[in-house]
Amino acid sequence: MTIGVKKVARPREMSFPESLYLVEIVKGLGVTMGHLLSNIVRQEGIKTIEYPEVRREMPPRFRGRHRLMKRENGSPRCVACFCCATACPAKCITIVAGESPDPGVEKYPVRFDIDMLRCVFCGMCVEACPCDAIRMDTGWFTPPDDTREKLIFTIDTLLEK
């Protein structure tokens, strides 16, 4: 087998006015001025998304921040089986199980904390959950905050969404 040779076009020699450079700079100035003027006249043509007011539409399979699902009666769907905590590669899920008041359900999570600072958004917890109790379909990132404590999301925060 011979090695394939690909011919790459060399940049052609510059013509004299091009090598003077000045004409080309003036042309370039024309291009930038065109952009400037068109952007001043038609502000809506600018692609920038003005973040806090306008949010980007996330694709449907985007793995965002977690939420815990509820049953029809409003109690968390989670049965505190620890599958998600076991599957988590970042060890960011802390669950404390308690006896559920509902006779049809064995356990429920007294505490369900996710340390968003450690979470790597891999989605393993969602895969592992046998009850479809945890999802990452909120379509949004972890919002920034100013203390570490505020970024450990408790069960109440997670149930909200």
């Binding site: 700079i25 930038t32 001025m33 952009h35």
Partner: protein, 365 residues
């Protein structure tokens, strides 16, 4: 008001007005740079800072920046030479301020029976003073680079000193043509000399009598001001931020102010030497006198306003040109900068002197 008191009042007023103009323009230019860059690159640019909910297209951002600079920690790195490290921003800013002094920003005016030049100091060495002062800017950069005690600033300082020395030569030589044509180095006389007409049609501006000189001077000035495409001393892709990598807070803002003040002063110098300074095309003391022979009388107060307005407009345009070029042209490589400076600019500026001298000699005969 009696003599000396009047003189002092006039001097102070002139300094205050022009100083305020230049520094005001510096503040505006920081905004123009950011906003202009954004629009050229299809972005929105600064538009968040607001006072009582008024955003005014981000015009308050320079104010916010200034406040931020004031309240940041004034940090001196361990390896830095303490004294020189603190002197560098001053060395950088002071020459830019000094250069303001010789730029005429309007024609002579008569106030209370006295003729007053609208120029802080009309030195008989005019442009040479400007060279002397702008030659000092290199120390700010070099000292900053050396005293920071860090590698990137040192490289930036080295680059900048070599670059500034190289381009200072062609900058000086490119202006000799102007001296020869207007037969003076005094700024006020150069501006006055640009009031006439060339071939009866064109204003006798420096750019029309010295087109090559103008291009050379403009390029050399960009190199002297360390602006793109010659901003290698602070080339962020290779030197982080070059000579001011280690600076923060108010000292950093002094470097920034120096850069923008250089732009403003540079714009004023180009406007003065090559675009007639305060000369308004076809406007004489009495009114407009068009090449066709038609004349329009204009009251003296309006003439004065038009002339100062013309100067301001020219300065604004050239200050904008700095920004415009920055967001158009990519940075040169270092060897390209040196090649351009020594192998293109220098011979061309010598050629320009020779050609100008030849033409003047032929015209005299």
């Amino acid at each position: 008001m009696n003599g000396p008191l009047f003189d002092i009042a006039v001097a102070v007023a002139r300094i205050a007005v022009f100083f305020a103009f230049c520094f005001g323009l510096v503040v505006v230019m920081t905004w123009v740079e950011r906003k202009g860059a954004a629009y050229i690159q299809d972005r929105r640019g600064p538009n968040r800072a607001d006072i009582f909910g008024i955003r005014a297209w981000g015009l308050f951002h320079p104010l916010a920046d200034a406040l931020k600079f004031l309240f940041k920690e004034d940090f001196i790195p361990d390896n830095a030479h303490r004294l020189f490290y603190q002197m560098a921003p001053m060395f950088s800013l002071a020459p830019a301020i000094l250069a303001i002094a010789v730029i005429p920003f309007g024609p002579d005016v008569t106030v209370m029976g006295r003729r007053i030049a609208l120029q802080i100091a009309d030195l008989n060495v005019g442009i040479l003073y400007l060279f002397a002062v702008s030659g000092m800017t290199v120390y700010g950069v070099v000292l900053a680079g050396w005293a920071s005690g860090s590698k990137y600033p040192l490289l930036g300082g080295l680059r900048s000193s070599a670059q500034m020395l190289s381009y200072e030569v062609s900058m000086g030589l490119s202006l000799i043509g102007i001296f020869m044509v207007f037969e003076s180095v005094r700024m006020s006389q150069i501006v006055a000399g640009q009031g006439g007409l060339l071939f009866g049609v064109l204003p006798k501006w420096g750019v029309f009598v010295q087109p090559l000189g103008f291009i050379l001077f403009l390029v050399a000035q960009y190199a002297e001001a360390n602006r793109t495409p010659f901003d290698l001393p602070e080339g962020e892709s290779e030197l982080v931020a070059g000579y001011h990598t280690e600076y923060a807070s108010f000292k950093f803002s002094m470097f920034m102010m120096a850069e923008y003040l250089h732009m403003v002063v540079g714009a004023a110098v180009v406007a003065t030497l090559f675009f007639g300074g305060w000369q308004f095309p076809y406007l004489r003391d009495a009114g407009f006198l068009f090449p066709g022979g038609s004349a329009v009388a204009v009251p003296p107060a309006l003439v004065l306003l038009l002339r100062i307005g013309a100067f301001v407009a020219k300065v604004l345009f050239f200050a904008w040109l700095y920004v415009w070029v920055r967001w158009t042209v990519p940075r040169f490589r270092y060897d390209q900068v040196m090649r351009l400076g020594w192998k293109v600019m220098l011979p061309l500026s010598l050629l320009n002197i020779f050609a100008t001298g030849l033409i003047l000699l032929l015209l005299k005969k």
